[in-house]
């Protein structure tokens, strides 16, 4: 018997998925990520559902719901979870903004390539090179 996984297709499933808006999908994804973070933190501490339920003073069934990724958490519950599990789930600190200043200038310059080649082949004194390059004047 082949162990290769097959792609499951279903008209009903496709219809249900098409009814989910992108906003709902994003929210579901975030809830699932939150549940996964809690699960990972529990594993890191070697805790089972019962351990977290005891710490949070909740029924184990509540923890099961939290880990299902469908629960709409209250902020106080999240803050308590952060304390008990020793992780950060919500970043409330304002990140310093990067201040950006923009400047613009447009200048035009005429280039003479022939002049360059001639002078390159013809040895000149330092002074004449200085005067040659000195045709751009800056003022500060």
């Amino acid at each position: 018997m082949s162990k290769k996984a097959r792609n499951y297709t279903s008209d009903i499933l496709d219809e249900l998925l098409s009814e989910i808006t992108s906003e709902e999908q994003r929210r579901t994804d975030k809830r699932m990520l939150l549940a996964a973070r809690i699960d990972d933190a529990m594993k890191a501490k070697g805790w089972r559902k019962g351990d977290l339920a005891r710490e949070m003073n909740k029924q184990p069934s509540i923890i099961t719901r939290w880990l299902s990724g469908t629960n709409n958490f209250e902020t106080d519950t999240i803050f308590e979870l952060e304390d008990k599990l020793g992780i950060k789930l919500i970043n409330t600190e304002e990140k310093p903004r990067e201040q950006i200043l923009y400047f613009h200038l447009n200048v035009s310059q005429m280039i003479n390539t022939e002049e360059y080649v001639d002078r390159f082949n013809e040895p000149k004194s330092i002074n004449s090179y200085a005067s040659w390059f000195g045709n751009n004047y800056g003022r500060c």
């Binding site: 923009y102 280039i111 500060c140």
Partner: protein, 139 residues
């Protein structure tokens, strides 16, 4: 007027981008270029740095095509950064003169990088003109 000292140091220079595009036309020995210069000063409070990103686009006036472009960054570390933080905000306000100096150093550095990068190419002697660093328009 009160004298304000800024203790700063050039921490790094980076060549971020360089592009050359030889046009499919005969180039005149005399040709005119428009130097489109943009400067971005990124002020990083956490690292106490100012990163000045200079972009220069060289537009050939005859066909209005870009023959070359370059992007560099100069990283400046500010020792007394906290002196320029406005009150309890995250906003940083450096003296205008200092902002102009940073632009000036970055432009000169970019000019040098352009010269060495264009050496031996059809843009060999295309030097960025000397410009007044205070003439830049703030966007």
């Amino acid at each position: 007027m009160e004298q304000v000292n800024v203790n700063y140091q050039l921490k790094g220079i980076e060549l971020l981008e360089i592009n050359l595009k030889h046009p499919q036309i005969q180039l005149n020995q005399e040709r005119s270029y428009n130097f489109n210069i943009n400067i971005e000063q990124r002020i990083n409070n956490e690292e106490k740095l100012v990163v000045v990103i200079t972009s220069v686009d060289l537009i050939y006036e005859k066909d209005n095509q870009s023959h070359a472009s370059i992007k560099t960054s100069c990283i400046f570390s500010i020792a007394n950064f906290q002196d320029f933080i406005v009150g309890n905000t995250n906003e940083v306000k450096f003296p205008n003169q200092f902002i102009v100096i940073l632009n000036s150093i970055s432009l000169s550095t970019t000019r040098g990088i352009m010269f060495t990068s264009f050496k031996g190419t059809f843009m060999h002697n295309v030097l960025m003109p000397i410009v007044d660093p205070s003439a830049f328009v703030t966007q």
